[in-house]
Amino acid sequence: MTAQLGNIALWIAFAVALYGAAAAVIGHRRHRSTLLESAYSAVLVHCAVVTVALLCLEYALITSDFSIQYVAFNSSLKYPIWYKIAGLWGALEGSLLLWAWMQAVLAAQVVIMYRRKHRDFIPYVSAVLMGISAFFVSVLLVPANPFAQHFPVPADGRGLNPLLEDTSMLVHPLLLYSGYVGFTVPYAFAMAALITGRLKEEWLFITRRWAVTAWMFLTCGIIYGGWWSYHVLGWGGYWAWDPVENASFMPWLAGTAYIHSVMTQEKRGMLKVWNLTLITLTFALVIFGTFLTRSGILNSVHAFTRGAVGYFFLAFLAVILLSTVSLLSLRADQLKTQGSVDSFLSRESAFLFNNLLLVTFCFTVFLGTIFPLLAEAVRGVKVSVGAPYFNYVAGPIGLGLLFLMGVGSVIPWRGGSWASLRRNLLGPGLAGVAAGCAAFLLGFRGPWVLTTYALAVFVMGVAVQEYYRGIRARRRTAGEGPVQALAQLFIRNRRRYGGFIVHVGFALVAIGIVSSSAFKVEQEGMLKKGEMLQAGKYQVRFDRLTSGEGPTHVKVHGIFTIFNESHEAGEMRPGLRFYPRSNDPIAEVDYWLGLQEDLYVILSSFDRQGAWAVVKVLVNPMVSWIWIGGAIMALGTLIAMLPTRLLSATGAGEKP
C-alpha cells in the first residue's frame, strides 16, 4: 500500500513538474496570466506530492515495512527510532528522495517569496527549478526507485552500513544536501537572466543571500564530514581525498570563487560571463560529484550501489553544460564587459587571482579524482594518485589563497597607492612575520608550517586591524561606545565584517590542517598485558579486554591506562564492533580532544584469550582548531547574511 502510494505520488510529481516548467514559460511568453498562475500552483503541488512520497518512505521505515526493498536493506527492527528515520538518507534511493524533496521545498519557497516581486525572472526560474526537480524525480522513478518491492518479505531488515550508525549521520548529509540544493537558486536565476537577457547585476543581488547560505551549509557539511570521518571511521584522520569528499569539495571551491567574484561584478560591472560560468560550474560539479559517487565508476568509502543512476546524472550534466554554453553564445553581444582592471594593485585584481587559484585548485582536485579513469582510457594502465598528490598540490595553492585573503580585503577597488598599501599591510604583515619567528623559537620547524602560521596570523591581523579601525572611526564620528560601534559595523557593512570572521575561521582551519599533518605522531604495537607503548609524551599500557553487546552488534573493548609524561592520566577504551553480516569489524575509537593535541587510540586486533592486543596510538596536534575554525566560519557567514532588520533595532539600513 505504502509503496503504491509513494510511486503514484512520484509519478504525479514528475508530471506536475513538467507541466509547471512548460506552463511557466508559455504563460509568460504569451502573457496568459492564468496559465502562469497555474504554473506557480504546480510548483506548490509538486512540493506537496513529493512530501507525500517522502512521508510514505518515512512511514515504511518507521513501521519497518520490509516488503519495501529499501527498508529491508537499510533498516532493522533493532534500531531506535532516530536511526529508522535517518535510514531515509542512509542509501542511494532514499538519499535521492530526500534530495528531490529538498529541491521541491526550495522551489516552492522561491516561488512564494518572489513571484510578485521579480515578475520577469520568476517564470524562467521556476521553469529551471522544475526541470531540475523533474530530473531528480525521474531518477527515483526509473533507476533508483525507493519503493521497489521485496519478496519474500524478510523477518528483519539488514540494517544500515554499520559506519552510518552514528548520530552524525543525522546531521552531516542534511547539511551537505542543503548546500547542494541551495546553489540551484542562483543557478536558476543565472539561467533566467540569460534567457531574458536581463544581464545587469539584478540577479546577483536577488540571489547573493541564497548563494552565501548554500555556501555556509556546504562548508558546515564538509567540516562536519571531517569530524565524522575523524571520530567514526577510526583511521586517525579527517580527510582522505576520497572521491566523495572531493565531490563535495569541488563545488565548494567553485562556489567560493563565485561568492567572491560576484562582488567584482556588483562593484565594477566586470566578469559577467565569468560569474554565469562559475555558478553553472558549481551546480554542474554538484551533479558531477553525484555521478561519480552514485555510479560506482570510482570506488570510495561512501560507494553506493551501482546501476543506471550514473547514466542519468551524466546525461543531466550534459544538458546543464550544453544549455549554458548555448545561452552564453546567444547572449555574447550583451555580455561585453564594462569595467577593466585599471591597476594591478586593486581589489578587483586580487579577486581575479583569488578566482584563478580557486578554480585551478578545483581543476587539480578534479584531475586527481578522475586520474585513474583518464590513465586507463588514454594509456590503458591501471594507476591511481592518492592523498600524496592532493597534499602536494593543495599546500602551495592554499598558501596562495591565504595570502590573497589578507591582501585582497584591504586594497581598495580601482587601485591604491603603494603608500596606502603599506599603511594597510604593515601591521598585519609584521604580526605574521613575528608569529612565524615565534613559532620557530618555540621549536616548530618546516618551511610550510612556518609560512602557514605567518600567513594565518597575517589574515587574522588584517581582520583585527579592520575591526579596530572601523570601531575607532565610528567612535570618532558618531560618538558611540565600543559595543555599539561594533554592532553598527555589522549593521552597516555586515558582508565585509562577517567576511572577516569567515577569514579568521579559515585561517584557524589552515593552522589545524597544517599542524596536524606535520606533527602527527603515530605508533602501532602489539602489547601483552601490562606492556607499554610510547607515543610522543604519552605512554599507553594494555590492561585487559572486556566485551559487551550493543543493539545491533557485539563489541570488544581494550582497557588501556594512559600516562602523560609518566603521570597516570586516565583510562581509554577503544573497541571493535562485530556486526553479524559484515566480515570486517568496525573500529570504535577512543580519543581525548584538546586544543593543543588529541590523543587518539584505535584497537586494531586482539587475542581471543585476552593475552595481547594490537593498538594504534596517534597524537594529532591541533585538530580541534579545524572544528573551531569551521564553527567560526559558519558564524561569520551567518553575520554576513542575516537580514538587516534582525540585526538592527534602530532600523539603520545597509550601506549601499
Binding site: A240, N299, S340, F344, G386, V393, G400, E524, V614
Partner: protein, 151 residues
C-alpha cells in the same frame, strides 16, 4: 588594454604555469601503478623504483613470520606467477594465506617486493552477495581495494 590588465594577465599566466608544474610534480610524487604478479614479472627491471600496487592471493604455505623483528615474508600470486614479498609490521586481521590482498610498495632489483602497506579488505559492499549472484570479478575486487589508502 590597460597596463593593469596587462600585469594581471602576466600574473595569471605565471600562476597557471606554476599550477601546471605543481600538478606534474604531484603526479610524479604520488602515482601508483597497479600490476598483477604476472605483469610485474614481465616488466622486470623496468618496474624498479616505481610505486606499485600488486593484487593477488597470498600463496598457501608461503607465509613466514618472525615474531621478534616483525618481519614477514610471503608470496603473492595470480595463479600464473608468484612474487616474493617482504613486509615489516603487523598485517591487518583479514590477511591470511589463500586470501586476496593488495599490497603496496616497491620492486627491489633483487626480485623481492618490498611492501609497506597491506590492504586485505574483501569488498566495499557491506551486504553479502545475494543468492545466485556471482562472486565479484577481478575488476570489482581491484576497484574495491584500490582506494583503501588512508581509510
Amino acid at each position: 588594454m590597460s597596463r593593469g590588465m596587462m600585469r594581471v594577465l602576466v600574473g595569471a599566466a605565471v600562476i597557471l604555469v606554476a599550477v601546471g608544474y605543481l600538478i606534474w610534480g604531484g603526479v610524479q610524487e604520488a602515482i601508483v601503478y597497479f600490476y598483477t604478479p604476472s605483469e610485474l614479472q614481465t616488466q622486470g627491471d623496468k618496474a624498479v623504483g616505481k610505486r606499485l600496487r600488486i593484487g593477488g592471493m597470498v600463496e598457501a604455505g608461503s607465509l613466514t613470520k618472525d615474531p621478534e623483528t616483525l618481519i614477514m615474508k610471503f608470496r603473492i600470486t595470480d595463479g600464473a606467477t608468484s612474487v616474493p614479498v617482504r613486509y615489516k609490521g603487523i598485517p591487518p586481521d583479514l590477511f591470511t594465506e589463500g586470501k586476496g590482498a593488495v599490497i603496496e610498495g616497491t620492486w627491489a632489483p633483487g626480485g623481492v617486493f618490498q611492501c609497506d602497506l597491506i590492504m586485505a579488505k574483501h569488498s566495499e559492499d557491506y551486504h553479502p552477495p545475494k543468492a545466485g549472484e556471482e562472486a565479484p570479478s577481478a575488476e570489482i575486487l581491484y576497484k574495491s581495494l584500490i582506494k583503501q589508502q588512508g581509510s
